[in-house]
Symmetry: C2
Subunit: 525 residues, 2 copies
Amino acid sequence: MQEDQAASDGGGRRRRGRRRGGGDAGSEVRPVVEQRPFRQPKLPFPPTELLSADELESIHAASLEVLKEIGIDFIHDEAKAMLKAAGADVDPNSDRVRFDPAMVEDAIGKAPEAFTLHARNPEHSVRFGEGYLVYCAAASAPNASDLEGGRRPGNREDYRNFLKLGHMFNAVHMWGGYPVEPVDIHPSVRHLEALSDMLTMSDKAIHAYSLGRERICDGMELARIARQVDDETFSREPSVISIINSSSPLRLDTPMLEGMIQLGRRGQPVVLTPFTLAGAMAPVTLAGALVQQNAEALAGLVFAQVNQPGAPFVYGGFTSNVDMKSGAPAFGTPEAMRTSIIGGQLARRYRLPYRSSNVNAANTLDAQAAYESVFSLWGAVMGGVNMLKHGLGWMEGGLHTSFEKFVLDADLLQMVSEFLTPIGVTPDDLALDAMREVGPGGHFFGCAHTQSRYKTAFYNPMISDWRNFESWEEAGRPEAYGTANRIYRDMIAAYEPPAMDPAAREELDAFVRRRTEEGGAPTDF
Amino acid sequence: MQEDQAASDGGGRRRRGRRRGGGDAGSEVRPVVEQRPFRQPKLPFPPTELLSADELESIHAASLEVLKEIGIDFIHDEAKAMLKAAGADVDPNSDRVRFDPAMVEDAIGKAPEAFTLHARNPEHSVRFGEGYLVYCAAASAPNASDLEGGRRPGNREDYRNFLKLGHMFNAVHMWGGYPVEPVDIHPSVRHLEALSDMLTMSDKAIHAYSLGRERICDGMELARIARQVDDETFSREPSVISIINSSSPLRLDTPMLEGMIQLGRRGQPVVLTPFTLAGAMAPVTLAGALVQQNAEALAGLVFAQVNQPGAPFVYGGFTSNVDMKSGAPAFGTPEAMRTSIIGGQLARRYRLPYRSSNVNAANTLDAQAAYESVFSLWGAVMGGVNMLKHGLGWMEGGLHTSFEKFVLDADLLQMVSEFLTPIGVTPDDLALDAMREVGPGGHFFGCAHTQSRYKTAFYNPMISDWRNFESWEEAGRPEAYGTANRIYRDMIAAYEPPAMDPAAREELDAFVRRRTEEGGAPTDF
């Protein structure tokens, strides 16, 4: 995009960063957009409760009944052996494992209520639990999209461009996985290349995928090396997290269980998230889908605590519904808002940090993408979410990550953080002097109280266009999608990599080289 | 719009209504869209509280100090005389009225905590208070807008088309004023023509503007005639409501006070809404803006109760902020979300129904319009709003009402109602039998539990397009704006007026005729 195009597109309001390759290399780098600092917001009020204590207990009790009577398939022989040794009822002729309620209750309370996930830049370490929110970038989409290039299969260039955006936006607290899958890197070494990019192009906390033993072990080593800590410190200071999706209904598969085993042994946290779409992989009633979600999450909790007592564990909720006409998954629905809030109630009942998401099912960045997304945020935030997965960029039910949605979400999430900031009620905030000065019929803009505060009094949005209609028409009727596109282009152009200890970089590169020479990880998972 | 255009635009999913003037007059009229029934949702959980009890008291106490020390200008001699007689400190040389805290405290608790606003169709009467929500259509915009015609000054045809939409959408519980100002009707008779249209083309409850004595008295008579009730019944059964905007800061002007006097005398409710944009007509701090909002609202409450003890009164909150770079009003901001929630706390402290809004500042129906709108809804709903003004169609800070936004908002508000519907937790809802039947690794679509429920299990949106990317591309990449346009066109084409007692219609027409012959209302207000 040319500078003059941006200007003619109404971009005059925004300050521009230095252009990559421009002639003014000596001039100061100015921020592309005004941002709030990197800061985890904290919920300043009790989360909303949709179920009474009795109703919540009925979900819990039904989950225990599912675990005792129906059971869960654990597709992993070592896992079954561990559970059998710990007292579970393991069917010798199948993968089925059933749990006595006492065994489940025994696991509750063993995982920490809160923990810190360490980034290689300590200023970017994040706290899970205690009311704090962690915003994660979108993860795992097979496609990327932007206004000019449209939707295309994920590749390393798009992947790296998302890393640049995520590094620059303070609203990104951590990575929740690969923002887009770089499918042009061979699967045997993709985790090595992609995580090495993530750990060098950004200094925020990371997620590694639980796709078998080698990958997750490599991921942990890469995170440890990037932080330049020894094994003992690494085990004491969680530095990599992984989403464990149950293979709903009522199954945990081999790669996921392998990930849980390896992560737990080194003290790293997992997020057990059942993929319970009501009407498809879970009952069509929301209560039924929640019972199943909860049974799967509790089964994961029991296994995680059998594997490693005290291992950090996050309760994940992802229960939404499908479009019953087409079977398509739906997101940002009134059903998902309610399950998101009730999921939070369940997580708190078990004193676990809670994961939910910022999701939508739109194919383009129109009003639908925005309202489904904010409805998602409404359910997650009021439900007491701690880890907000897919916080930035998620579109189309997860089938593509959009560069423009990423920018728009940075704005939305900053607004959520601002909303969660308590207002001051000091005598100065109550402003009686200002009202005395202005009086009935006056105007506050010129008064001293306003003049000393107006620059920082309100959130200054990146996307919202508040010009009057005539000025907006003159500027070519810009829409949010185009504005976000301009910011994304400018941000990437202004990107500069974070500082990194050369020794860490060298060790990281050597590890990737060695593991690549060894053939990487098996691709038959 | 031609039928074939709609079809090529991806409209195949929607059932179509009978076309106006079509040749198939004998065929059955089918609904244009699937709607939820007319129903007021009720908040099923306690509203969110952002301020502690002590902090809330500091707002209350500061408001009392404003009323005692600075005072409010009442630009109405009769109103001042009434307040003086009731014990207020009225400045003999100006409009300034000051209130002793005891006088304010005395007014609190006199207005009813809840009341019913009666529509001419009793099934459309609405309850204010007791946790119920009332969704009102957008009001008072000087311009209308749609996709084909763009933005144009309000006129009677657009006005009537909004009436048709509002009558047909069950998400519209009542009228909050004229959805667009029909400026092609002469101001002396506009209220007669516009309210007569509203009362005949729809059968929902109405708002009349407080623009001097004649207009509001005509409005009450029209509402009484439409309901065919006598004066005594009309006074006992509120049938028209009016927004009273204070002329912030700290002023109540003549037409508004005249409206309060006349409405109160006939037992009709008012909604006192200060227009307190922080940084412009109110202090730049949110606490300061809330103190001023509260002082103005309490002054209105005192006057309303002096005028007519026990008169129904709604506490209105509309505190938002301005863009400090341009002075433009902003809506759907994190500032407005917080003031909306705290406004609800104040209303409940005074045991009054609470009014807030569904607003945004976007110039077009893009992502901005949607996210600002849902952020507004988030603040209003979680804040315990009872009367949701501008619920459908509001755009551009109130400068235009959009036909497409009206449809989109009908969808959003139905989703809010659905979100507020408690989920069932009966044994049947908990779905243990379904999980027993399906078991680990199965699929729920075919099971009996799903089959008997799938048609009504989930909210079926009007706008959201959940087709997969390929089908959506084939359909021409429809966006929310275009989908809403198609539905709005179809709805208007399918409109049929509600039944009306011919005697009522005749009396209404005769009243309009007589008042028109008398010259209508003065235009020098």
